[in-house]
C-alpha cells in the first residue's frame, strides 16, 4: 500500500490526503499505525489514535505566530540564529536542555553544539527516568522489546505507572490484550498486577491491585527480593512497612515464579518518590533475581515521544545518557551536579537553550526563577511558559506531523516518521544546524 494517497473529494471540497501508518510521537509508545486524513494544513482524522494521539494530531495545525521572536518582538529567523549563537557562545556556563520531543537528527546536532561551546547538556530524562538511568548503570537492565512482551508476556506487572492515562494504547497494542505467538488467547492468557499508592484507572484493568503505603516502594520491592530467595520475614514488620500482609506478597511471588515470561513496567511513581534511583535499582535487581526461576524482564514506561532517542543520541555521542558536562573538552557525567534542575536551582548556568520542552512550567521554583534571570533560547512548535520568557524564541515545525526523521520507541526500537503536511516554520534541525554553523564561525574568530 502506498504511504500517501489522494482521497476522492467533491468538486467544492479541498482535496483530502490520506497518510497511512503515520507515527504518533506524543508518548513513548510511538504508535506507527495511525492513518491520517489531511485537509490542507489540518489533520481532520487520526484513525486508531488514542485520546492523547488524537489531540496531538488534530491540534498541531499552522498557528498564526512569528517564526522568531527576539526580546518578544518579531524578527527574521536568520537574525534569531545569529543572536542565539552569540548568547550561547558568550556564556561561561551554557546549558542545553530538553530534546525529548524532537528527532534524533536534531538531537545529534544539539549535542554537537554543546561540544563546540563546552556546554552542559541534559535531557528531560533527568526529571523522569533519570534515576532509572543511574540504576541501569549500577545493576544493569534485563529487558526486551515490546514485540516480545506482546508475543510472550503472561504476567504483566505495572509498578508506579498508570498507562491507562499516560500511554492509553499500551494495554491494547503491546501488553495486555494482543493475541501473541505464545499467548494465543490474548488477555485470557495473561495475568495483570498493578502496584500503586492510588487505585488508578490502570488498576481497574488488573487481576490483582496492590495498594502500597506511599514512599514504601523500596521496602515492598526488597520484601519481594527476600521472598524470591526464600528468606523468612517477620509478617508484622512487612505489613507495617508496606501496608500489605506478607501473605499477599508471598502469593505475588508464587505467581511471579509460576510465570513463563514476566514483565514489570515501571513509572515515575518509583523515580520521583523518596528513594528515587534506589527504588529503580531495587526493581531492576528483583527482575535479575527472578531469572534464577523463570524469564523476567522490566522496562520503564517512557513518557515523551523521543525521550528514549535523547538517551540514545547523548549516549552514543558522549558516552553518557543525560546530565553531561563538556566544559573541559571531554564529557563528564554526574547526576545531581550536571542535571538541569540542579544547574539552574544552584544559579550556575548563565545562558541556556531549551529545545522542545517546558522547564518554566515543570521545574522547581528556584530553578525557574534562575532560568527567568538568564538569557535563553527556546525552540517549540507551541507557545509555552518557556517560549514566552525566552530572549530568542523560535516557532518550529512539529516533528512527525510536518518534519520527517527518526524517533526511538520506549524499547529502543528506532521508528521512521511519516509527516502529514508541510509547515511554513523551520524545523528544529534547520535552526540547530544554523546555530551550530554560527558558533563554529565565532569559534574561529
Amino acid at each position: 500500500m502506498a504511504t500517501v494517497e489522494q482521497a476522492d473529494a467533491g468538486p467544492d471540497e479541498e482535496s483530502l490526503k490520506i497518510v497511512y501508518d503515520a507515527t504518533c510521537t506524543f508518548c513513548g509508545c510511538v504508535c506507527d499505525d495511525i492513518d491520517l486524513t489531511v485537509k490542507g494544513h489540518q489533520i481532520v482524522k487520526a484513525k486508531r489514535a488514542c485520546v492523547l494521539g488524537n489531540s496531538w494530531f488534530l491540534n498541531h495545525n499552522i498557528e498564526d505566530r512569528p517564526a522568531c521572536l527576539i526580546g518578544g518582538k518579531p524578527a527574521a529567523v536568520e537574525e534569531g540564529i545569529q543572536r542565539a549563537a552569540q548568547i550561547l557562545f558568550d556564556a561561561k556556563y551554557p546549558l542545553i536542555y530538553g530534546l525529548s520531543d524532537t528527532t534524533t537528527e536534531s538531537q545529534r546536532v544539539a549535542v554537537g553544539i554543546a561540544d563546540w561551546i563546552g556546554a552542559n547538556i541534559d535531557t528531560t530524562t533527568s526529571v523522569c527516568h533519570g534515576p532509572s538511568g543511574m540504576a541501569f548503570q549500577g545493576v544493569g537492565e534485563v529487558t526486551c522489546s515490546l514485540g516480545e512482551v506482546r508475543n510472550r508476556g503472561d504476567l504483566i506487572i505495572f509498578w508506579g505507572s498508570n498507562p491507562a492515562e499516560s500511554h492509553p494504547r499500551h494495554f491494547t497494542k503491546y501488553s495486555l490484550m494482543p493475541k501473541g505467538m505464545f499467548v494465543p488467547n490474548g488477555r485470557k492468557d495473561r495475568t495483570c498486577v498493578v502496584v500503586d499508592v492510588r487505585k488508578t484507572k490502570s488498576a481497574k484493568a488488573a487481576d490483582l491491585f496492590i495498594q502500597i503505603k506511599p514512599r514504601c516502594d523500596f521496602e515492598a520491592l526488597w520484601t519481594l527480593r527476600a521472598l524470591c530467595k526464600g528468606i523468612e520475614l517477620d509478617p508484622q514488620v512487612v505489613e507495617e512497612k508496606t501496608g500489605q500482609p506478607l501473605s499477599l506478597w508471598q502469593d505475588l511471588m508464587n505467581t511471579m515464579k509460576a510465570a513463563k515470561f514476566g514483565v514489570i513496567f515501571f513509572g515515575m511513581g518509583l523515580t520521583m518518590t523518596r528513594g528515587k534511583h534506589a527504588n529503580s535499582e531495587a526493581l531492576l535487581t528483583l527482575t535479575r533475581d527472578m531469572n534464577q526461576h523463570t524469564r523476567f524482564v522490566c522496562k520503564p514506561n517512557r513518557g515523551h515521544g523521543n525521550v528514549t532517542g535523547a538517551d540514545n543520541v547523548v549516549s552514543w555521542q558522549t558516552g553518557y545518557p543525560f546530565g553531561v558536562n563538556l566544559s573541559r573538552g571531554y564529557p563528564r557525567f554526574n547526576p545531581g551536579e550536571y542535571t538541569s534542575s540542579d544547574v539552574l536551582a544552584r544559579g550556575e548556568a548563565d545562558a541556556a537553550m531549551i529545545i522542545a520542552s517546558d522547564p518554566m512550567a515543570n521545574f522547581s521554583q528556584p530553578a525557574r526563577e534562575h532560568l527567568a534571570r538568564i538569557p535563553y533560547v527556546a525552540l517549540d512548535p507551541k507557545e509555552t511558559p518557556t517560549t514566552r520568557a525566552a530572549e530568542v524564541a523560535f516557532t518550529v515545525a512539529t516533528y512527525g506531523i510536518n518534519v520527517p526523521g527518526t524517533v526511538y520507541r520506549m524499547d529502543d526500537v528506532p521508528i521512521p516518521l511519516r509527516p502529514a503536511f508541510d509547515s511554513p516554520f523551520p524545523s528544529d534541525l534547520e535552526i540547530l544546524k544554523g546555530i551550530e554553523r554560527r558558533v563554529k564561525e565565532l569559534g574561529r574568530g
Binding site: 491540534n59 533519570g130 492515562e165 499508592v197
Partner: protein
C-alpha cells in the same frame, strides 16, 4: 486548622490533551489548577467541591480549588493534582544528588480558606 497530607502530583490524559491544545488553553489550565481530595477526607473536614484551600510544602505554597477524587481512586490522607505550574511550585530545588527533585509523595499542610 492545617492538616498534614501526602501529595502525589501526576499525569492525567486530560492534562496530556491540554498540552497538545496549548498550555494557555482551557483544558490544560482547568486540569492543572484543581486539587483532588479523597471523599472521606472532604466529609471529615467539612469541605465541598469548589472550596479553596492553601497547600504548603517545605518549599512552597499555593492556593487552589478542590474537588473530590472519583470513587476509591484516592485513599484518605493522599492528595492528587495534575502536573503543571502549581504542582511545580511545591517542589524544592534539591535533588539529593539524583537530578530529580522529590516530585511525588511529599508532605504538605492543607488548610481551608474562608
Amino acid at each position: 486548622m492545617a492538616e498534614t497530607f501526602i501529595m502525589i502530583p501526576g499525569r492525567t490524559s486530560k492534562q496530556g490533551c491540554g498540552i497538545s491544545e496549548g498550555k494557555f488553553g482551557e483544558t490544560y489550565q482547568s486540569e492543572t489548577t484543581v486539587l483532588q481530595v479523597a471523599p472521606q477526607d472532604m466529609e471529615r473536614l467539612g469541605l465541598r467541591e469548589g472550596d479553596r484551600v492553601r497547600v504548603t510544602s517545605e518549599d512552597g505554597q499555593i492556593e487552589i480549588d478542590i474537588k473530590p477524587s472519583k470513587g476509591d481512586e484516592l485513599p484518605p490522607g493522599l492528595l492528587f493534582m495534575a502536573y503543571g505550574d502549581l504542582s511545580s511550585r511545591l517542589m524544592g530545588g534539591d535533588t539529593h544528588g539524583s537530578g530529580m527533585p522529590t516530585s511525588k509523595g511529599f508532605d504538605v499542610e492543607l488548610e481551608r480558606l474562608d
